[in-house]
């Protein structure tokens, strides 16, 4: 059925390129996550504590970006904006697109997190005479951080995998490198199986690292899978 001899040796010399691609993927994921986290925190704060009129536009932003594909959002930034005079490099388009997309999802996640509250702890703090600032610092923030950590970590892993669509725009992250190397060597099964393996390793390491961080900061139990 599959008349194909596997020749992994042919792609071995290209491994450094794949590692470079992996670093770029992690960089894109990290930068857009940070940007998205910032947008999300500002939005969620405004939604929870800000004036009423600001809710509508923020919700519109969230609803729009979470109901359309990230790929098409980047297509728009890369192909449509030039018509309006804004020329973005493929890297910039991907970064901005992923940041905005992340911003929308992280707004939702953080908004849900902000609305959880530990009534009994709050009452204890008030009765013990904590000032508003102390309440925030010792009761509210630690609790919110603990609640938000798992969904944020999960989304980070999703974003790491999501960087692969940058390849479509010519960015030479891991998938992009794979497509390049494929067009040189034509060993498609070998190259993509190695790349699949690399993504698995990257996400396993990320899950492990985040799990460790979580258990250190919040004393949650460690599970990898």
């Amino acid at each position: 059925m599959l008349d194909y001899t596997f020749q992994y040796g042919q792609i071995w010399p290209y491994l450094p390129r794949l590692i470079d691609g992996a670093y770029l993927a992690l960089e894109i994921a990290f930068l857009s996550f940070c940007g998205g986290l910032l947008i999300g925190t500002v939005n969620a704060s405004l939604l929870s504590f800000g004036p009423k009129w600001v809710a509508r536009p923020i919700q519109a932003f969230v609803v729009f970006f979470t109901n359309t594909p990230q790929l098409v959002q980047i297509y728009f930034l890369y192909f449509a904006l030039p018509d309006a005079g804004v020329l973005l490099s493929s890297y910039a388009a991907v970064l901005i697109g992923m940041t905005l997309n992340a911003g929308a999802y992280l707004t939702e996640i953080q908004r849900a997190g902000f609305s959880t509250r530990r009534q009994s702890e709050m009452e204890a703090a008030i009765v013990l005479g904590f000032s508003r600032w102390q309440q925030i610092r010792y009761v509210i923030l630690p609790h919110i951080a603990r609640v938000l950590f798992p969904p944020l970590s999960n989304h980070y892993i999703i974003m790491t995998l999501g960087t692969s669509m940058a390849a479509i725009f010519g960015v030479e992250e891991l998938t992009g490198q794979a497509l390049n190397i494929n067009s040189i060597t034509f060993r498609s099964l070998e190259i993509f199986s190695v790349v699949a393996g690399l993504y698995i390793v990257i996400t396993l390491l990320a899950s492990l690292a985040l799990g460790l961080l979580g258990s250190l900061l919040f004393r949650t139990k460690l599970r990898v899978i």
Binding site: T68, D83, T203
Partner: protein, 228 residues
Amino acid sequence: MITQLIQEMPRFFTYYNLLFLAQAVGTTIALSAIGCLFGLLFGCLISTVRLTDKAWLAPLRWIALLFTEFFRRVPFLVTLMLVFFVFQLSGANLPLFVVASLSVTLIASAFLAEIIRAGLLSIHRNQWDAATAMNFGLLQTIRYVVLPQAWKMILPPAFGFFVMFIKDTALASQIGVIELTFAGKVLNNKGFSAILVFGTILILYFAVSYPLSRFGHYLEKRLAPSRH
């Protein structure tokens, strides 16, 4: 620029183009639906295998675990490429839609297997214990006791996955399936302005995804309200 766009609209929104876009929307929904329907089937199989405890079934359990972890930790695009090249190199002349459906089914099976497993395990231990003590086998326990109770915990997230998956089918455009994103590329290449084309595509995705996601929220409220 806005006047240019307005002038272009009658040329863009022709009957032929609208039909083309409608068919593309149909393909998009079909891909996600097929993936999720077969995904539910295989997901049930995989999650049941993972719940067995007989020693001789251990290799199957490992395969099920590896399958689930693989397709959840590899980007959709890479999975698509792998499946595409496997079929290209095997010489089988399968239509692109079939290749894409296969990829989509593999991915959906892995994710839905996790959702199903979580749902089955959410059923209290004592329901499982009572069935085991009365000599129910694993399949009988799942069929008569656990699944009738668990489907309410499974359907809302499974439906939510289906709605989310519609957006991921956009990647199938990369292997040439004529779904909505590919339709956008085609129309853009034909010369229509990118703002109009991709703007329309974004709105069409929204028009499909948003109502479905609202329905999904309604399902969650109706079926599994005591979640928190």
